[in-house]
Amino acid sequence: MSSLLKEKLHYDKTFDCVQCGYCLPACPTYETMEKETHSPRGRINLVKMVAEGKASVEDLREPIEKCLGCMACTTVCPTNVQYGAIFEGAKQVVDDESEKAKPRKLMEDFFFQTFFPSSKWMNSLGNATWFYQTSGLQKISQQFGLTKRVPLPIDKFETILPSMPSPKERRARVGRYVRKRPSCAKVGFFKGCIMDSVFYKTNQNTMELLLRSGAEVVFPKQQTCCGALHAHSGKVDHSIELAKQNIEAFEEEGFDYIVSNAGGCGARLVEYPHLFEEGSSWHERASAFVSRVKDISEVLMEMDGLLFEKELHRTVTYQPSCHLRNVQKVTDEPLALLKQIPGLTLRELERPEFCCGSAGVYNIVNYEEAMDILDVKMKDVCGVKPDRIVTSNPGCHLQMKLGVEREGLSGKMDAVHLVDLLMEADPQPKY
């Protein structure tokens, strides 16, 4: 077997796994798919087998494609196996060997090379969604089942999209928000692709909370997609280009924090140094960038500039984003913020660490497997009976909405981004 393939598969890293099996109870797909083949230990072993020529890349395809990449295994691994690197390497090898049908390949190229990195396309998506929702087209196509005829299960998702701002509102946004009083920190806001198109209002609320906390907020124009979806789909080279563009975009001004409000994006940003060779200047720049990357919940807690006085009588539960929890290692801050809202009842899930099954584009590409995972999650959610499920990542947010709909609980339960719930409580500046 070629040494190049061994290198791509991170063969050396597979030896860190001592096959103790401690990852098994943490792995959602091992639980729902009931096979070692779909467990972290099983996948790592298969990667090793492929590198040693004992199995083919084709044998590896399904186990790798069905991995959520939730990284729950990395939090329980006693030997600190670099599963993220092994998984991404395997994704790339599987993708390279792929004999995908041409239309799918063309679609993927469009999505990953043009669509996600482009603000123009992303704004258009937001605007098109707005037109679709406000023009009555949504109702008509739902009635005639039009959305059910597209090949991917898009129809399952389109009913759960939030309402959009008008194109006029979108254009009116400025690039810098300065406080009248002196600011205590200068924040560079990382807007994200899906967040800024589909969850535009959440982004606006995020900036508002930062301003009320006493920060100056800047919106660097040159920023682009974080590259998470690319890396998880085996397009590592492209994700490196995106990383470089972001590092440059946030270098210009001396930011105290670079803030993201999407667990998936934040997790990608903090991994930028791994994309570059240690000791290289890009590695150094990436490390400097990462030292300032924080999730919105961390920054709000650190700045401690919000005063919550308005009572909000709701019962909520918190569904942590896997990437926020397992990669960014942010666990307590969102809960601490929720506890500051007077009147709010917080009921924690029995297994908050269990992935919801969204996992980037996993729920679109592996719809059935994702729904099996979601069913496990919803059982837990229904057990605590919240009227709001608080999320910290757009993918989880949509997935939880879908879960609510599948359980027939629309109207009784809803998903809400942490930031939007905080704004509902209308906190006032402390200083």
């Binding site: 103790c20 401690y22 072993n45 298969l46 006693p78 030997t79």
Partner: protein, 467 residues
């Protein structure tokens, strides 16, 4: 596809008869050494399926290797002769607790920690606590006769089994033992099967003994500047009318590794540390704690630490748990042994390990359940270094010899499997081993159940390297 594999699909749903290359590789290993590709993985969920599979296998002479979660450290579930891996892990979990009888009946797939969790809801406990209890199945624990830190006071798995439901190699479903604490009816088949490592029968259910959960625990850490002093202190404690639940030992290499990995405030200059857990009523614990402090001072302890809070105690136990991952940082491959000696011989055994370390130029560290003489000497090496692995093989052989010379045994709690089979005759003698083999042959005339385990094959040697 072989005809017998097609036949299997007649009584086990096709979705649970796995034949793809990826699936077969995924059941070719456990947490020990070696990989062996099975022909098929059969995931059974009820006893009739087990019976049908075994009847077919017995008729066609196909090897069957039962497997729980595959956390075994001695190679128990490895399909060394191909054939069938019988995956028991997907069996529907059931825990039928009878608190008034202090017993529980469980399915083979139940995770051991969940039995204890269920018992605790009734103020009871299931005592055996292997460190993999949150992953390992009770079926695997029974087959391997697993131990754990609490073994010092409460014994190992076999001391907590009242009865079993098993399927014989010929596919018959039988019950052994019963539900009562006392039961002397006939030859004890229950004890025969527990620890037989899947060579005599497939366990499909078990009735276990529960105990009252001690209302309180007290942790104490003691550091010594000499391993010998630590060993003597353990014997002194146990002969002073005190029986702690746990007495865990770490040598200096382990202490240093933990402090480099995740600092826990252990005394890095100590030659050995003992972490003790007493359990019982709070008043008794107060008295026993005082006695232990006196004993340890008399034995020349460098430091005695009584944690001031539950968090502090938890931190010490966390440090003990971190030994395994921490020492893995020394070198990637861990050869973890469980040779056990009479408790008074621990210092002698430590001396022998030191000699082996120098003789073979290897990283050898030791930690474990010193209170019951069950140490875990670990050799840290690199699987990819063939020359080093050959030195490891020689060192392991001498380590076993040392344990036996001191009146000890090959395995305290991990089992024999493939890893220690070559050394069985050393401990049991030719006739002793033959008597075991006769039992095996009469239970399993066609030798289909877990062949290649426990009993050495002709000329079998420990092989950890591959060229």
């Amino acid at each position: 596809m072989e005809k017998w594999i097609e036949e299997l699909k007649g009584f086990v749903p096709e979705s649970r008869v796995l034949t793809s290359v990826a699936d077969r590789h995924s059941y070719s290993f456990d947490a020990s050494f070696g990989e062996h590709l099975p022909d098929v993985v059969v995931q059974v969920k009820e006893k009739q399926e087990v019976s049908d599979v075994l009847k077919l296998a017995n008729r066609c002479k196909i090897p069957v290797h039962p497997r729980g979660s595959g956390t075994c450290l001695s190679g128990g579930p490895l399909p060394v002769h191909g054939g069938i891996v019988l995956d028991m892990s997907q069996w529907p979990a059931s825990i039928d607790l009878r608190p008034r009888d202090l017993t529980v009946t469980v399915a083979p797939s139940v995770l051991t920690a969940n039995i204890n969790k269920a018992a605790e809801e009734h103020g009871l406990m299931y005592a055996p606590d292997p460190s993999s209890a949150h992953v390992a199945t009770i079926g695997g624990n029974l087959a391997e006769n697993s131990g754990g830190p609490r073994g010092l006071k409460y014994g190992v798995t076999k001391d907590h089994v009242l009865g079993l439901e098993v399927v014989t190699p010929e596919g018959e479903i039988i019950q052994t033992g019963g539900q009562t604490i006392k039961n002397v009816t006939g030859i004890d088949l229950t004890k025969l099967i527990v620890g037989s490592e899947g060579t005599l029968a497939v366990i499909v259910g078990a009735t276990l003994k529960l105990m009252p959960k001690p209302p309180a625990v007290q942790t104490i850490m003691v550091a010594f500047d000499e391993v010998r002093k630590a060993g003597e202190a353990i014997s002194q404690t146990l002969t002073s009318g005190i029986l702690p639940a746990k007495m865990e030992f770490m040598d200096q290499a382990c202490i240093t590794a933990v402090e480099n990995f995740q600092p826990a405030g252990l005394p890095v200059d100590a030659a050995a540390v003992i972490i003790i857990e007493l359990d019982g009523h709070p008043e008794t614990l107060g008295v026993e704690r005082g006695l232990i402090e006196e004993i340890m001072q008399d034995m020349g302890a460098e430091e005695i630490l009584i944690p001031k809070s539950e968090e502090e105690a938890a931190k010490l136990w966390h440090a003990r748990k971190q030994v395994s991952p921490a020492i893995a940082k020394i070198k990637p491959t861990k050869v973890s042994e469980d040779a056990t000696v009479p408790r008074s011989k621990i210092p002698d055994f430590m001396d022998r390990l030191q000699l082996l370390k120098e003789k073979y130029d290897l990283e050898i560290v030791a930690f474990g359940h010193a209170g019951d003489g069950n140490l875990h000497p670990n050799i840290l090496c690199d699987k990819r270094d063939v020359e080093e692995m050959k030195r490891v093989e020689m060192a392991v052989e001498e380590m076993f010899q040392a344990a036996l010379d001191l009146g000890g045994t090959l395995s305290g709690e991990h089992g024999i499997g493939t890893m220690k089979a070559p050394f069985m005759e050393l401990e049991l003698g030719e006739v002793g081993l033959d008597m075991m083999k006769r039992i095996k042959d009469s239970w399993d005339p066609n030798g289909i159940l877990n062949p290649g385990k426990v009993f050495p094959e002709k000329g079998q040697k420990l092989v950890l390297h591959h060229e």
